[in-house]
Symmetry: C2
Subunit: 112 residues, 2 copies
């Protein structure tokens, strides 16, 4: 993956998975696993991009973009990803919310 | 607004505005304006919640949630918000992307 930045997505429609989370104080390899999951997601069919930011206050937002609902379902079921999801629920996140949304339109700085 | 956290949104469907931005070094009242815009957004009809995180690296993601496309259009046209949008384009953001998406489903930590 390239360094943190704004994802270059194709023209809509496509899908966004908005994952908002609050971290616990537990580390236990969180950073390594988070990086690995981004690398792995990027190798999945239908992956279009990802954007991620975590505030000093502990709130994190990761938005991944996908061609279809099917691509999202396959990624959710990925074996390595399932291990990470379980560790997230048990150890790393005190709370989270995941929303699946269909991107209908978009514009950037040069076309506002 | 309450402190940074995960938004408590109603059952889907509803809309999300995903605003991803890279900040310039220019300040010029950015923090105050950003806070004011969150307060003002929260007073608009159809507003459902907001989540925001900015990474140490400068990438920020703000997701605001709305009842309808009409509520989003009204907020975009709000006079004070238009002044902030213009300052954002000219001064505060070196780049940004705004995506409007329809949230179709969601789940949280207790119902994954």
């Amino acid at each position: 993956m390239s360094p943190p930045g704004i994802a270059h997505t194709p023209a809509p429609p496509y899908y966004a998975v908005i994952f908002t989370s609050l971290r616990t104080d537990a580390d236990g390899g969180y950073g390594r696993m988070a990086e690995r999951m981004v690398e792995l997601a990027a190798q999945q069919p239908g992956f279009l991009g990802v954007e991620s930011a975590r505030d000093a206050g502990g709130l994190g937002i990761t938005v991944s973009y996908w061609e279809s609902e099917e691509a999202i379902a396959r990624w959710k079921a990925n074996a390595q990803h399932r291990v990470a999801q379980e560790a997230g629920r048990k150890t790393w996140y005190s709370d989270y919310q995941l929303r699946v949304a269909k991107v209908e339109r978009e514009y950037g700085k040069s076309a506002a």
